[in-house]
């Protein structure tokens, strides 16, 4: 009798150990998948142009280099910056948060509510943080989102604009 219980205990313990191992492996893979696919919301001054030597960024992105990482970039479209390539149809525009500027290039259709002077979110990756001719970092967008409804403002951008007291209420 005692031996049987003992055996059962061992079997149960083994099963529990197996289960725990599998579960922790699973959790590990899932968390790493989550970590890899986190898309930070940044504003232009977070990715202000810097010299090649110091492309580490404190605070955001756990100190990793942000170049080549997928991010969401929120900012206001600078008036008069929207340009379209005549043959390829590729568009480019400048995003700002009042401090820094980022040149965004995008191959695709701009959203319905895209306007110069308004807030948009570009999803894509930073191609270079070395300043271009006009002192901007460059960003390649895969998708551009504008306000979904009349009152919508990307939340991260609103916060950041308020911090720099550049926020103005929508009319």
């Amino acid at each position: 009798m005692k031996g049987r219980i003992h055996k059962r205990m061992i079997r149960r313990l083994a099963a529990i150990a197996m289960l725990l191992t599998c579960a922790s492996l699973g959790v590990f893979f899932i968390l790493s998948a989550l970590r890899e696919n986190i898309v930070f919301f940044l504003v232009p001054s977070d990715i202000a142009p810097i010299k090649a030597s110091e492309d580490e960024l404190e605070g955001k992105g756990n100190g990793e280099s942000l170049v080549g990482r997928r991010i969401r970039l929120g900012g206001l479209v600078v008036e008069g910056s929207l340009m379209q390539d005549a043959t390829s149809g590729e568009v480019s525009f400048t995003l700002t948060d009042g401090q820094a500027r980022v040149a965004v290039s995008y191959r695709g259709l701009l959203p319905d509510l895209f306007r110069e002077g308004q807030g948009v979110v570009a999803i894509g990756e930073i191609t270079s943080r070395a300043p271009d001719k006009r002192g901007r970092a460059t960003f390649r967008a895969e998708r551009v989102l504008a306000k979904h409804d009349e009152y919508y403002m990307p939340r991260g951008l609103e916060k950041s604009l308020k911090k720099r007291s550049l926020w103005r209420e929508q009319p």
Binding site: F29, I30, A33, L34, E36, N37, I38, V39, F40, F41, G59, K60, R70, R72, E79, G80, L82, Q84, D85, A86, T87, S88, G89, V91, R107, G108, L109, L110, P111, D112, L113, F114, R115, E116, G117, Q118, R143, L145, H148, D149, E150, Y151, Y152, P154, R155, G156, K159
Partner: protein, 667 residues
């Protein structure tokens, strides 16, 4: 005037709902009781139809509750249809020039109106419970809990989001509905989705009542299954319509974006699917009861959580409504109250049961040894996988919230996370699906399973290989197609199948969905170019090629919009053309992209156009003859809708009485 009557109806409804919720406690306090109340733990009582006379009130009251809510809704709809701009809500969300269908739909295209609809659906289910179930203690308590939830939301509607608030002085014309919502699919999407979300409340109430009475037996399982099935079907239909709307209206060519709001509707669906399978297992073999209870409770909690996420606007979402933090907090309080209390009760019952189960006669079968090759084992794995999927979706949906709360940084989780993490679970799920026809309740012989695998596996592998060789797709798509075929053959096989009719349809639908989604989202091709009049664009994959010519660009005026249309003619097919456009809606000056889609059973061609606008103040009126064009080729896109439709149909079919048992009433 009618608006105030609607408001009063809502107040009355709150009183009625509270009264209904309090009926059982009145009885407990000793009012109206004829006989001495026995120990409620005895299941024999719950079968006793002659209960305290006070319950004679419950049906009229439930009926009154439903009618009052219906009346309040009708009054609001009337205000919308008549464009009564002295009502704040109508002024904010409607416009006199809008087509009637969208005036009607505008009622639930906003927070207050949709809460009113939510309450209506809650009361509908209360009435259904009152009228379609026998008067047993369990059902009476179910009704009371349902009314309690209804009262909670009625109070929320009245005190924090009153849809009947007036605007003084009244306006001449409304501000217009967000034109992106002007689509027939969206006119019926919210009611369907709400029937699903709220339908889960009926299953929740039944389960909570059972937990309180400690009376969770076959009766409970059968009626819970019916409610869950109803909700599951509606939810599936609602999600499908939402995806269809996004595909047609957003102009991105995608139909699912793993957006928090979409996830919010997916989570209850996953949990309800898992719950259905657990309930089935309990009904057939007396196993997995705790899972069934837990999943039913969680499914409704997930739908409440979804409401919170959508309504409070705490998440960064493309679907975000303009939001009010106070409402968010109140909804969160309601959610935690309902969820927390039910889960605590469940835990307490489990702990209390823990000592007893060893001695009771109907020992749960979970202690019995379950054969690996049995239906129960399949169901159990299925439940585990579905719950895991839900947990993974929830993790990624809530993670940004916690992250922002603790660190202040805003982030979101990219779609690749969902694709990477969910794909293995889903593929495994479908692999099990294919085995179901040979797995019987209680166990099957190994040789039979082997014979079946040898028969089906070649078909599945053949399909996968064909995809690799002829369509030159990636390995993931080939595996998805192989597994899809594997499950499809399993579901369609009629000879000596252990499947019920409805389940077979639902599973076939899921298999079709897997194949179609894999092909449409992983093998699609996109071309983007600037085009002038007379230019041609060709889009082709390994199996087909289409050439389109930009023939014409012209302006057109619709009921409440003006649009700029481009006409593309198919070169291969004479006379056929596609006309995508850009619309500007009148009251709001909002522009939308109207995609043009050519569908057939092999592929969708999806065209959107854009013009460059320099500034908001200078509208793009100058009609130049070139525009940016995006053409997408989406293989098997049509079958995404068919697959989803068949799945929902399977749910409805399961609701119909089976050949053998033609029972009308709920147990």
């Amino acid at each position: 005037m009618t608006v105030e009557i609607g408001h009063y109806a809502l107040v009355l409804a709150l009183c009625v709902a509270s009264a209904l919720a309090l009926l059982p406690s009145l009885e407990l306090c000793g009012f109206f009781s004829k006989k001495d109340t026995n120990d409620s733990a005895q299941p024999s009582i719950s079968a006793n139809p002659d209960m305290s006379p006070i319950y004679a009130l419950s049906r009229p009251l439930a009926c009154a509750l439903f009618l009052l809510c219906l009346f309040a809704n009708a009054m609001l709809i009337r205000a919308f249809l008549l464009s009564n701009f002295s009502v704040l809500l109508v002024w904010q969300h409607s416009h006199s020039q809008k087509p009637d269908l969208y005036k009607f739909a505008a009622m639930w295209g906003n927070h207050e109106g949709s809460m009113l609809l939510w309450v209506l659906v809650l009361s509908t289910f209360a009435a259904l419970i009152a009228f379609f179930s026998r008067t047993t203690r369990l059902n009476q308590l179910t009704l009371a809990i349902q009314s309690g939830i209804c009262a909670l939301f009625l109070a929320f509607t009245l005190f924090f989001s009153n849809p009947f608030a007036r605007l003084y002085p009244s306006a001449l014309d409304g501000q217009g509905l967000n034109p992106i919502l002007q689509h027939p699919a969206l006119a019926i999407h919210p009611p369907l989705l709400y029937m699903g979300y709220v339908g889960l409340s009926a299953a929740f109430s039944t389960t909570l009542a059972g937990l309180i009475l400690n009376d969770l037996h076959t009766d409970w399982a059968k009626s819970t299954r019916v409610w869950t099935l109803v909700a599951w079907s509606f939810l599936g239909a609602g999600i499908t319509l939402g995806a269809f709307w996004a595909y047609e209206e957003l102009g991105w060519g995608g139909f699912w974006f793993w957006d928090p709001v979409e996830n919010a509707s997916l989570m209850p669906w996953l949990l309800a699917s898992a719950g259905l399978h657990a309930l089935m297992s309990y009904i057939k073999t007396n196993s997995l009861r705790s899972w069934a209870i837990l999943l039913v409770l969680l499914a409704f909690s997930a739908s409440l959580l979804g409401t919170f996420l959508v309504r409070s606007g705490v998440l960064v979402s493309v679907h975000s409504f303009a939001s009010d933090p106070l409402r968010g907090i109140i909804i969160l309080l309601c959610v935690s109250l309902i969820t927390g209390s039910s889960l605590c009760l469940f835990a307490w019952r489990r702990l209390a049961d823990g000592d007893k189960t060893a001695s009771t006669e109907d020992k749960p079968a979970s202690d019995r040894r379950i054969s690996l090759l049995s239906r129960e084992a399949g169901q159990f794995l299925n439940i585990l996988l579905l719950s895991c999927c839900c947990a993974l979706v929830m993790l990624a949906t809530l993670y940004p919230l916690f992250f922002e709360f603790f660190t202040g940084n805003t982030l979101s989780v990219g779609p690749p996370y969902y694709a990477n993490v969910l794909t293995p679970f889903f593929l495994l799920l479908v692999a099990i699906l294919g085995l179901l026809p040979v797995l019987g309740w209680g166990g099957s012989s190994l040789s039979r399973v082997k014979r079946y695998i040898f028969w089906v596996a070649p078909i599945a592998c053949g399909g996968g290989l064909a995809m690799l060789v002829f369509a030159r797709t990636s390995a993931t798509v080939a595996i998805a197609v192989a597994l899809g075929l594997w499950a499809l053959v399993g579901a369609l096989r009629t000879r000596s199948s252990k499947h019920a009719r409805g389940a077979r349809f639902a599973h076939a639908g899921i298999a079709i969905l897997l194949i179609a989604v894999a092909c449409a989202s992983l093998t699609d091709i996109e071309k983007f170019r600037k085009m002038s009049l007379g230019e041609r664009i060709t889009i082709n994959n390994a199996l087909s090629s289409t050439t389109l010519e930009l023939q014409d660009i012209f302006a057109r005026t619709g009921t409440n919009y003006q649009e700029r249309v481009a006409r593309f003619a198919f070169i291969e097919k004479d006379g056929k053309s596609l006309s995508p456009s850009r619309r500007v809606y009148h009251p709001s000056k909002i522009e939308t992209t109207e995609a043009a889609i050519d569908r057939n059973i092999y592929r969708d061609i999806y065209i959107t156009i854009a013009t460059i606008k320099r500034n908001a103040s200078k509208p793009s009126s100058e009609l130049d003859d070139s525009l940016s064009v995006r053409v997408q080729l989406k293989p098997l896109m049509f079958w995404v809708w068919i697959g989803a439709g068949i799945t929902v149909f399977g749910g409805i079919l399961s609701l119909l009485p089976n050949r053998a048992s033609g029972r009308r009433r709920l147990p």
